[in-house]
């Protein structure tokens, strides 16, 4: 039986070795007109599908515009997008596939911090520069010197909303309801709590949920019992809409506050009247007066039939910064590209002037939007100082 088992193992081995030796993928050495392969791993499907889809559209539009003008260093950019289905370890697989199977020179992704954190070690290990357009948890760029982001980070974002609650809404007692499963939410909640308490406010309730949950009444009842002036819900749009509805049903009519995880049309679609009068911080306002923003919105709308949300704008900016870095470096991959990205200074992005700081994060302003009349409306800007 020992032998039989070994035989079977041997057969399985030979079979798979033969199969594996089949059509192998080997990257070709680049000729001058060879496309530059850039990978984007994103949540095109699953719970946070709008994030991935919007980001991809923004990136795609940026690369198409660049290619229309002749590409970078005389070569066109080829975008390869892998879906991670909003699942954390799929992000890692997707990044791996892009790096090893498709041999991309740079990676764009992801929006969700947990997913960026899962993929970043792969990029770092392979020496492939990775730019996250929207992950705000500080730990993402701490993974290594090949990992960058072109958005602000949560210590800043948490402070923005804490100050907004305290100064603008005059709230003194705030409840927090965060997503225990997402690093983004955990981190943002922590930074909010710290700043709010420093300002002299009180956190009267601290409840948690898990992304994918649909029933929040238990936690909301506990929160209601603490009589808060406002509730901070630093989660993703899928749950935020439901939370708002159930809160209103329970008679909780205080304003809800959130972060850029709210930035999706679905928040209003799901939340409906329940999210009216709520506020959240994000990266840009589509109804801004800035002519560049208006032009971008117009072009995006013409191409995609909808107003670009923050993820689309961030994707667009991240893609253009990558291209700009390649042009500055004179090279399309490796340490030279990495150093060029790190040296990005005052880049004119749709989401603001972008400078990459020594921690490989971007120094940028935040905007607070209000949900009013079924739309996101610009409320105010908070500068990066």
């Amino acid at each position: 039986m020992l032998r039989a088992a070994r035989r079977a193992g041997g057969i399985a081995l030979v079979a798979s070795a033969l199969w594996a030796c089949g059509p192998g993928q080997s990257g070709g050495a680049g000729a001058a007109k060879d496309p530059i392969r850039v990978g984007h791993f994103a949540s095109l499907t699953g719970d946070t599908a709008t994030f991935g889809q919007s980001t991809d559209r923004g990136i795609r539009m940026a690369f198409e515009e660049v290619n229309a003008k002749g590409g970078v260093l005389g070569r066109p950019i080829e975008l390869i997008t892998e879906d991670d289905r909003s699942v954390t370890e799929e992000a890692r697989s997707a990044a791996q596939k892009l790096i090893q199977r498709d041999e991309v020179v740079a990676l764009l992704g992801e929006v969700a911090s947990s997913r960026s954190l899962a993929a970043a070690p792969e990029a770092q290990r392979a020496g492939v520069p990775m730019i996250s357009p929207a992950s705000t948890n500080p730990r993402v760029t701490e993974v290594g010197d090949d990992i960058f982001r072109t958005c602000f980070i949560d210590p800043f974002q948490g402070a923005v909303m804490a100050r907004f609650a305290f100064d603008d809404l005059k709230a003194r007692r705030v409840a927090v309801l965060f997503d225990f499963k997402q690093d983004y939410s955990v981190g943002l909640a922590e930074f909010f709590r710290k700043t709010f308490q420093q300002l002299g406010g009180e956190i009267v309730a601290d409840e948690r949920y898990t992304s994918g949950d649909i029933e929040f009444r238990a936690q909301l009842t506990t929160i209601r019992g603490a009589s808060p002036d406002a509730i901070f819900v630093p989660g993703y749009y899928t749950e935020v809409g439901l939370i708002a509805k159930q809160a209103r049903e329970l008679g909780l009519n205080v304003p809800l506050l959130g972060g850029d995880g709210w930035d999706s049309e679905k928040t209003i679609e799901i939340g409906g009247s329940a999210v009216e009068g709520d506020y959240f911080s994000t990266h840009y306002a589509a109804d801004s007066d800035d002519p560049h923003v208006r032009d971008f919105v117009r072009r995006y709308q013409a191409k995609n039939g909808q107003v670009p949300d923050a993820m689309a704008a961030l994707g667009y900016d991240a893609a253009r910064i990558l291209v700009d870095s390649m042009a500055r470096a004179g090279k399309t991959e490796g340490p030279a590209l990495r150093d060029a990205i790190a040296a990005t200074k005052d880049f004119p992005g749709i989401t603001g002037r972008i400078t990459i700081d020594p921690q490989r994060n971007a120094l940028k302003d935040a905007v607070v939007l209000k949900i009013d009349g079924g739309r996101f409306r610009y409320h105010r800007t908070v500068s990066a100082q």
Binding site: M1, A8, A15, S16, G24
Partner: protein, 336 residues
Amino acid sequence: MRARTLAAVGASAFAFAILEWVLPRALNPYYLTILTRIGVAIVAAVSLQLVNGFTGQFSIGHAGFMAVGAYASAALSVYLGSEWLAALASVLPVPLARALYFPLPLLAGGALAGVAGLLVGIPTLRLRGDYLAIATLGFGEIIRIVILNVDAVGGARGFALTGQNGADLRYEDLGAIYAVVAISVAVIARLAYSSAGLAFRAVREDETAAAAIGVATTRVKVLAFVVSSFFAGVAGALFAHSEGYIHTNSFSFVRSFEIMVFVVLGGLGSITGAVIAATVLTAAPEGLRGFGEFRMILYALLLIAVMILRPQGLMGSRELSLGALRGWLRGRRAAA
């Protein structure tokens, strides 16, 4: 006899050489990853076969034990392993140091998983049939949710195998991995076809009758369960160290179902069946890229079709052996 043993040893050495030195140079790392995953699937399937196929106890919480093994071994490596590895590497050449270190987290993972199997098995193996299945499913989920709440092993972020000093603790040495696979399969096969194995099969065939003739059924069931969980832990540890990053999502009941599909399709009671099913069903979806969505549908349809049309699966409870192959060929030639 001696010639056969020599041939077996020779074949194994040859296979090891190919895995260790030839394939890593010839293949894209993406394919090497797939080969590793096949190895993990084989150990997982064969260990489940011991409980489901040979002892007839339908457990569907196997991924929970893999999770215990994966996280225990990863924790060992991350918190203690880097020091031990550095110590070994200071006196030995690095590959040798790594090879000597590697069995430690595997054994730790397996041991802890075995203990988990004992704790889970003692209460649940009193149950029969459907109830046992659901109880094991429940335990698998409880284990997973408990691990999810332990921050020291990453919680919802997942756990990366980087040591305290930043060392990369992955172990992707294909030869060593398949050596572990071969040993695991051999041990389980040995057990299944020993006198203890007879007791397993007696319990499978008719538990009440077996008890009536003096088989210590509870002890037998628990033994099968513990050994099975041990090797599930080893599979989990292999997985953790080859992937370099683990997340509880990889150990959900979907994974338990997948392994169950390998075992059922291969034939409940056949080790070779489990090996073949695990190999084919792990390799095929990667090869058929773009068929990702259809993979699970295919598994499900196969499962239903097999249960209705050919419930004994591919191999039934027979094994593939050289003698059987020769006999089959002779039969074909005679018929021709």
